[in-house]
Symmetry: C2
Subunit: 769 residues, 2 copies
């Protein structure tokens, strides 16, 4: 059992490491040569450019103004200063609402902490149960529910508090849901024209022996939506083409690298191996090889492109159908088209940026089978992931290595190395697995066939959350692997399970406090330092960058990463709710996490991240649902714990809590969720009418014509002349030619460009000397 002293030491270490990260960040961000690592968002918005060539050579790389170092925490107030409407304008609604999750944590837990400390801590403290008993206890346990004698009337305080906290949390959750729903509707209503407002994704177009897919779609919608249908774009299976284009790009990067290398050291032609990862195979002249590869691909790509466009087999039975009005699109997306509900499936088209193109090629039957497979696979992943890892661990022991690679024996036998391997190796397989887990979950979601990136991330997030609950939360409380737990629970009666877990909860408080400090405090502080992007940017900058455009490409702003970030926050909600009544001393640690994370992520969203898509906060129902489930878990566990405390009178009162919480959830679901899933006709009609009044001569068809072209037909900067041909072939209609710019340099289309918020760059500049 950790004493208060131990905890203090641990806290000191973690606070110190967090401070180190923050100071390092403060210093690094002031160096001009790191500017593109710490302020990429402004570059992408075109509001900032590389340091000018004027001035001393050194100052272009290093900041020599010593005064700026004194104010090393200045970024914090800066990050907080931007008002929310501006933030939405600047970074999109998704990011702004994501930040509200941290705020929600503060809103729930600040009053809970205050009340718990004024009421529960004295109630727990003024007992002598632990002091009298001969169990091993720490000072922290004196403040927890463990210090109350069995059958005491004091448990009424905990029961009442459980009710108070639940009502408070529900109140805040309801307020927040209402607010986010309003923000979403307002965002959608005030947005500029966007292609997805007019467009519906139609899947499972039935094959017709006499007509092409494109004709079938056109006829169907001309018949069934005669007043509203405008145009459509068929979906091509361009996955192979996309692969080729990607390959060419990679080769181009390598070519640049080798050419730069050769330019710096002309004495020696760079060589490379052609085999796997450049580790084996024939050794060839790198520049020649890459040039030849690029030439080959330059030939293959147009051929493949030709094939995709002309081969009817590459046209998928899906199409993006656009309507004349938002009303027409809203109607089509929400209704069933055909009497066979597996044909002509319609749904809102995701934003063009948000479409996950490879999955558009998956047929319906396959999707349901895939979903089943992934469901089973995820079950096994959650409960049995330890089996392969244990197997790898059994291989990675010293005896096995010595047996398989006897030549290493003398080296391994050195005492220091041996102990290092023994201590390190068994954990490494698990560590690698945990690092790979989000990727594995994302691959699973992709396999399941979701059509939008936001959908993929939402699904991965919910899987990650479940994995965390089972393996981190329950796994830490009850020792043993998830499978052992499962086995134990199956053999236990239904009302024993909360007891088993509930009893162990107060004992694990110190463990979770340490966890919060390591993962929540130091981890969040490390996030702001962006070590990996920092290193990669400088490597790229050194090896590959020739032009300003290359430098732009070398930037890796990253994005919020909903699939990993949100489950992490949810885990803190769970801890806070579970321990609020049991061990209130844990609450301030969670408050620090929410506060710090809010500031850090607000800074990152303003200066760094560049969201790949905008889903208009479509994830909020998930966030809300998971907090509700955390509340129900905490209530059940509290009931389990209380029932072992002989508090026979107060425990039955807790029974109503989960029922009330779930009813509240159902109410919220009915009241607010439709705002996130459907598009009300009233809003659509209003926007349509306004637009018709403002721009009566708008050529909508031209606007929507190419909105949903596969990016591989759009992206290539070097084949601009081909492109128009392709469009013409694909559409066979008149085009209004527009000069497309490389998307990387232009502000993201859905955002208002810099003009509308002139204070932003000034504000940002003022913050930096």
């Amino acid at each position: 059992m950790a004493t208060l002293g131990d905890m203090g030491l641990s806290a000191a270490i973690n606070i110190l490491s967090a401070l180190v990260f923050l100071v390092a960040f403060a210093i690094l961000r002031l160096q001009p040569f790191n500017d593109r690592v710490y302020f990429p968002k402004w570059y992408l918005k075109g509001l900032r450019s590389s340091p000018t060539r004027s001035g001393a050579f050194v100052t272009r790389f290093v900041n020599l103004d010593w005064r700026s170092y004194l104010r090393f925490l200045n970024w914090m107030p800066d990050a907080l200063r931007m008002p929310e409407p501006e933030l939405i304008d600047h970074a999109g609604l998704d990011s702004a609402v994501y930040l509200r999750i941290y705020l929600l944590g503060l809103k729930i837990f600040v009053p809970v902490t205050l009340i718990a400390w004024t009421i529960l801590v004295p109630v727990n403290w003024t007992n002598h149960t632990l002091a009298k008993s001969d169990v091993n206890y720490s000072e922290i346990d004196l403040l927890s529910i463990s210090n109350i004698p069995l059958g005491s009337q004091r448990f009424w305080a905990h029961t009442v508090m459980a009710y108070a906290f639940t009502f408070w949390a529900c109140y805040i959750l309801q307020q927040e849901y209402a607010k986010v729903a309003r923000m979403r509707l307002h965002f959608i209503a005030s947005e500029k024209r966007r292609p997805d407002q007019f467009t519906v994704l139609v899947k499972n177009v039935p094959p017709d022996p006499d007509e092409s897919i494109s004709e079938t779609v056109e006829h169907f919608f001309l018949v069934n939506h005669p007043d509203h249908y405008l145009t459509h774009q068929v979906v091509c299976n361009a996955n192979k083409l996309a692969k080729l284009v990607k390959e060419k790009k990679r080769n181009q990067n390598w070519l640049d690298y080798y050419q730069l290398k050769y330019a710096r050291n002309q004495s020696q032609r760079p060589m490379m191996k052609t085999g796997f990862l450049g580790l084996c195979g024939e050794k060839v002249d790198a520049i020649d090889h890459q040039t030849a590869e690029i030439e080959r691909l330059s030939k293959e790509i147009p051929e493949e492109r030709e094939r995709v466009i002309n081969d009817p087999k590459s046209i998928m039975p899906a199409a993006f159908v656009s309507f004349k009005t938002r009303w027409g699109a809203a109607v089509c997306a929400q209704t069933q088209q055909s009497s066979n509900p597996t044909l002509w499936l319609t749904e809102w088209a995701p934003e063009p940026r948000d479409v996950y193109w490879p999955n558009l090629a998956i047929p319906y039957v396959s999707v349901s089978i895939r979903r089943l497979i992934i469901g089973v696979a995820f079950f096994f992943l959650t409960f049995f992931f330890m089996i392969p890892i244990a197997f790898v661990q059994s291989l990675a022991n010293i005896e096995y290595i010595e047996k398989k690679a006897p030549f290493l024996k003398p080296l391994i036998e050195i005492k220091f190395i041996k102990s290092f391997i023994q201590g390190f190796l068994p954990g490494i397989a698990l560590k690698i697995f945990l690092i790979l887990l989000p990727t594995i979950l994302m691959i699973m979601s992709k396999f399941e066939g979701f059509l939008s990136i936001s959908g993929l991330e939402r699904r991965s997030a919910s899987r990650y959350y479940i994995f965390n609950i089972v393996n981190v939360f329950l796994g830490s409380i009850i020792a043993g692997t998830a499978f052992q737990q499962l086995n134990k629970f199956i053999h236990q009666s239904a009302n024993e399970i909360p007891k088993t877990i509930g009893v162990a909860i107060p004992m694990k408080a110190t463990f979770f406090i340490t966890y919060i400090m390591v993962d929540g405090w130091a981890g969040i502080a490390a996030e702001i330092l962006r070590v990996r992007p920092l290193i990669i940017f400088h490597l790229k900058n050194f090896f590959m960058v020739k032009t300003e455009k290359d430098r732009d490409e070398a930037m890796d702003p990253g994005s919020l990463g909903f699939d990993t970030g949100e489950p992490q926050i949810q885990f803190y909600f769970l801890l806070g709710l579970v321990y609020a009544v049991v061990t209130p001393i844990l609450l301030p640690f969670i408050l620090v996490f929410f506060g710090l994370a809010y500031v850090v992520f607000r800074h990152q969203i303003i200066n760094v991240y560049n969201q790949e898509y905008e889903s208009a906060a479509a994830f909020w129902p998930d966030v809300h649902g998971r907090i509700i489930s955390a509340m129900v878990i905490s209530q059940l566990l509290l009931m389990g714990l209380m029932s072992t405390k002989h508090a026979a009178l107060s425990t039955p009162f807790l029974l109503a809590l989960p029922i009330l919480t779930i009813s509240f959830h159902l109410y919220c679901k009915g009241r607010y969720e439709p705002a996130f899933r459907r598009y009300p006709l009233q809003e659509a009609m209003m926007k349509d009418t306004l637009e018709r009044a403002k721009e009566p001569n708008l050529n909508l068809k031209a606007y929507l014509q190419n909105a949903y072209i596969h990016p591989v037909f759009k992206g290539g900067d070097d084949d601009d002349e081909d492109e128009d041909e392709i469009f013409e072939k694909l559409e066979a209609t008149v085009l209004v030619p527009t000069k497309r710019q490389s998307r990387r340099n232009t502000p993201v289309p859905s955002k208002v460009s810099g003009d509308s918020s002139p204070s932003l760059p000034d504000l940002q500049e003022k913050g930096r000397p």
Copy 2:
């Protein structure tokens, strides 16, 4: 334990009583004076009328043709002869599809029975486990799984059979779901014009300080559905008016009764008491009293009617909105209208006959609270209903009666009466409760706020099914009340529960066989006799009937009673699926039930029942879902049973069964359920186009104008002149006056009238000499 001899005796008794019922029916139905009891459907369709006055007086009441009695089972082939399309024409799709549930039972269980008897019975029979053991067993157990020794390899046969039965059942279920979905779509498509095809029920119209509800609705839909909105009808809270009208009608009936009485015996004016149920209170002249009452009501009704129409408070925030096209209505019903999802809720309007008017007055918030309350109430009803009954039973014992009513003592002390009371009284409270249960469940559903009678019946049916599973199925298998079971299960581990139940299953086979014979065989045979309607009709006929119209009203055709009938069938599905592998000897008994019930209900549907509404088989997803849940229950119980048999190798193979079954269910849900919940636009458009081509000058507005008027404004035959005034006031638009006939005498509007199926009456007549 019952021996084969016992079973045979029981079977003989039940077969005999079933035969008695059938013979009694055969005799009674041939008597002309029972014609209106056994053939009311034909009277309602106007295809049959009272026996003519010609002929001998006796033959008008009694059938003297002895030959007709010889063919007393002739009604059976007659009932089977009508082909399904004609049946749909004659009685509606609901009835035709309801019959398919029995057919489905036959389709599933005939092959299952054959295979089980050829494979499982020999496998079970050729063992000597029970003979060697010293447990008490019956011959039936020799054919069951109990006869297999522990750990035998023969359990593989049961495992394989469980798979075979599951696959067969799923195959048949899928075929049936597809067929019913097709039938539904075809029925809807081929139907004549019906008001509900064009109409949407709008609830939660937001209040507007400047406009009446009617104006708000009109403006909203003129703005948001400008091309499609046609007209609307507001909903009045006419519950009080309906009550008054009902009261007047009851008084009228009594007046008729007393007048008839007085006419027969003029020596004495009939008297009545004014108090509760005519049991207490002042004694007055009955004819004068009733006349006065009717006069009072005749004054009050127009006043109340005036109030309902003119008082804005009696207008509910709901309206039936009609559209110009089916397309427009389909769009409006499936989309969200307002950004606040609790306002302007739209759903398909039920058929006018199907609307449950009193519930239209319930606001949205109240509905969710009501749902929660009823959920909790149903939980308590299911698990704790024994508590009040036990309390009543404790009161209804002899000592208590003697104490409270000492004057009864001499009577009670007679030995015969005492033993009768002792044997009979304790059971009577339970029996009364079970008889009242469907009514209680229906009241619960009504309280929940469903808006259509079909919805009420579906909800009651699913509750009744759950009650049956918990209290009849589990209650019979495990002795003890549901609450004791619940308590036991909570204290048992999750995988112990199927074991506890599974082990008891083979032992209860004889009990359930007896149950099937009593409830399924004799009960169904009694259904056809219609004892209660028979008695009531003759009583009414004797005491109140003066005119032919009165005689029409005295008929009580009844209807299918989905809320009680369907759960009964489902219970047999459950028994069949559970015992198919365990004790196959039970299967033939179930086959007889399905066969007999099919014939009986086909006869009743053709000749007797008059459906109150037509939901176009909207109940099928419920039927399908309950059979699936019965399959999953049977699989879990089989797993529990097998795991106690030391069949360690074969049991794990059963694990995949519930997963496969549930996946199958999800697939079916996705594939077929939308056909029952939504209305595809393609179909709507097709019908619209056809109609426009056929009847270009149709005045749809006139057709829809008064379709959804509260029946209380329509029903009164005697206030025809008032009515038109009311319509004018309510609608304030031009009306096309149509002469409405009393609905009782006309064929139900949605059905094709007799002309289209001229063979029906002939066919029916041929069957009767």
